[in-house]
């Protein structure tokens, strides 16, 4: 105790800080960093859960890059990302922007938008799957049929399967993005808008030159958050195409599903680990690039 007593105030603060940090540090080391490191090591090995691990060098990676399914899956993953992120952001911003101006039943409407976010992805996926069924079961095809338009194959066509899975994925994330956008919109002082109104600037200019630039921190957060979400898409795909995971001819299969298949259906753990490392690298690069491009200038 005497030792602690003799420390300077600064040193005491450091002791306290590290005592409190110890638990998360331990947690991250054991639960996050160690398995991550283990996966990287495993990606250079061959292992089927039962056998002994044997070193194979870069073989897993060579196999991966020459695997046409991997490139198909790679493309699918980026289609999810490149369509899903901008689409969901534009829709959620449009809703938030207008909802912000609505005072009638504001809280209720906001709660309704938030509801999908709280719902289980599995339940949602199965519900949408039912929507997509042919007549007389599926909701969408029933509507199409009733107005005389031919049925669409939705999940059963290589062309429309991926968008059909993307739609509920976008829809499920909207609630969260709307809430974040609204919080961002609320944090812009009303006097900014009033000053613009007095200056006689049009609402389009206000949106482009005031609202969106000031929402930049919010947008950066949501782009990164939503990108990571779409790059890791799994629940929707897995549940909406259970009988044929990955859709017709792998047309909906994302990277995570491929990893799952390789690991827990083919029991090729080393190969799965190599795919994981690739996914991790992609996530890292995409996040860093986005943070760099949209890096926030310090105001105030």
């Amino acid at each position: 105790m005497n030792f602690y007593r003799n420390l300077s105030i600064k040193q005491k603060q450091v002791v306290w800080a590290w005592s409190f940090l110890a638990i998360p540090v331990l947690f991250y080391t054991v639960i996050r960093f160690y398995p991550t490191f283990g996966a990287v090591v495993l990606s250079f090995q061959e292992w089927n859960l039962l056998s002994d691990k044997s070193w194979v060098g870069l073989e897993n990676y060579q196999k991966l890059f020459s695997d046409p399914v991997f490139w198909k899956v790679f493309k699918n993953t980026f289609v999810y990302l490149l369509i899903g992120t901008p689409l969901s952001l534009v829709i959620s911003f449009a809703i938030a922007y207008h909802l912000d101006k609505v005072t009638f039943m504001h809280a209720t409407i906001r709660a309704l938008y938030f509801l999908p976010f709280m719902t289980s992805a599995v339940a949602m996926a199965w519900l949408w799957r039912w929507f997509y069924q042919p007549v007389p079961i599926g909701l969408f095809n029933n509507i199409l049929a009733s107005i005389g338009i031919p049925q669409l194959p939705f999940l059963n066509s290589t062309f429309s399967a991926l968008p059909s899975i993307l739609a509920p994925a976008v829809w499920a994330g909207l609630g969260f993005q709307i809430i974040i956008f609204m919080a961002g919109l609320r944090s812009i002082p009303t006097s900014y808008y009033e000053a613009a109104e007095i200056d006689g600037v049009g609402s389009w200019t206000v949106l482009r030159e005031i609202t969106i630039p000031l929402l930049k921190p919010t947008i950066v957060f949501l782009v990164v958050f939503s990108s990571i979400g779409f790059l890791r898409i799994f629940d929707q795909v897995f549940n909406m195409t259970t009988n044929d995971p990955g859709g017709p001819l792998n047309s909906t299969k994302p990277l995570v599903l491929m990893i799952y298949d390789t690991a827990f259906n083919a029991f090729d753990m080393g190969y799965a680990a190599a795919q994981t490392v690739v996914l991790f690298t992609i996530l890292l690069i995409v996040s860093l690039v986005q943070l760099f491009i949209m890096r926030e200038r310090k105001y105030d």
Binding site: V201, Y299, D300
Partner: protein, 352 residues
Amino acid sequence: MATVELKKLTKSFGKTEVLHGIDLMVEDGEFVVFVGPSGCGKSTTLRLLAGLDEVTSGQILIGGEVVNNLAPKERNIAMVFQNYAIYPHMTVRKNIGFGLRTAKMPKADKEKRIDEVAEILGMTDLLERRPAQLSGGQRQRVAIGRAMVRNPSVFLFDEPLSNLDAQLRTQMRLEIKKLHQDVGTTIIFVTHDQVEAMTLADRIVIMKDGHIQQVGTPSDVFQNPANMFVAQFIGAPSMNMLEGTVIDEGIQLGAGPVIAHKNQFPVDKITVGIRPSALVPATGGAPTLMAGTIAIVEPLGAESLAYVDINGTMVIATVSGRTPPIVGDVLPLTCPPEDIHFFDTASGKALS
């Protein structure tokens, strides 16, 4: 340059009426300050003038034209906000130029105009900076610059100095007054600070609870307050208010002393008001108006304030700053007769 006229102006939010029929004529080039405690309706009036809120009834005329249904931009006014409302992501040049966006003039002219304004405000060197790199006073100047750039006919200021520290506030006050003398545009300025109102205004409009209490020049409202509210609101420290009753010799104060007065009053209950600055120690044979024990002395440097206990009623008097009396002393006080104000206790109105 324009006159501003308010005719029977009212404003309600839902069922609550917050302005109850305001009438006011502001001359071209005049500097008018609205002052009052929070919730008195001064900011509401300004927002109605700006067109940010809609008039419930009555009329607003700018330059003789009714503007009730005109959008803010069509009124040719400019407004400076309390939090400046300058955009953090734009440079000073872009901020000042923002008001010119919709102006139909060549780009070169716009740039020239921005440079002119920056010149007037002494911010030419700061044009390429962002607001985060500016001090509070400089940000305020950017806000004023953005208002000036369009050559509006009326400037509206909504408590523009409240966010500045005391020293800077005094300095900006001076700059705004100088600016008004230079450009001569009509200014309507809202503040809750009576010192700001006194120092800046050509005429002061004192408001309370959605009513105008008095309109007049600073010396007018200070020397001839229309009612007890104005008397106490203007001037610091506040005017001493002593309740009394009319008797044959004058007014018998509740605190004891009798104030001699010859006039006839229409009412019995009178409140006598004396500013602390007029209530001084009775020396050199001056007649003693009242006397009491000193309870507290507050030195202010040039002078000191003495809180004098007159039979249980506390009054504030001004005493010497160099040799203030000591707590516990009995102090005889006097006041020139012209500095004694009389109010009807019931209605609060001033009596002559």
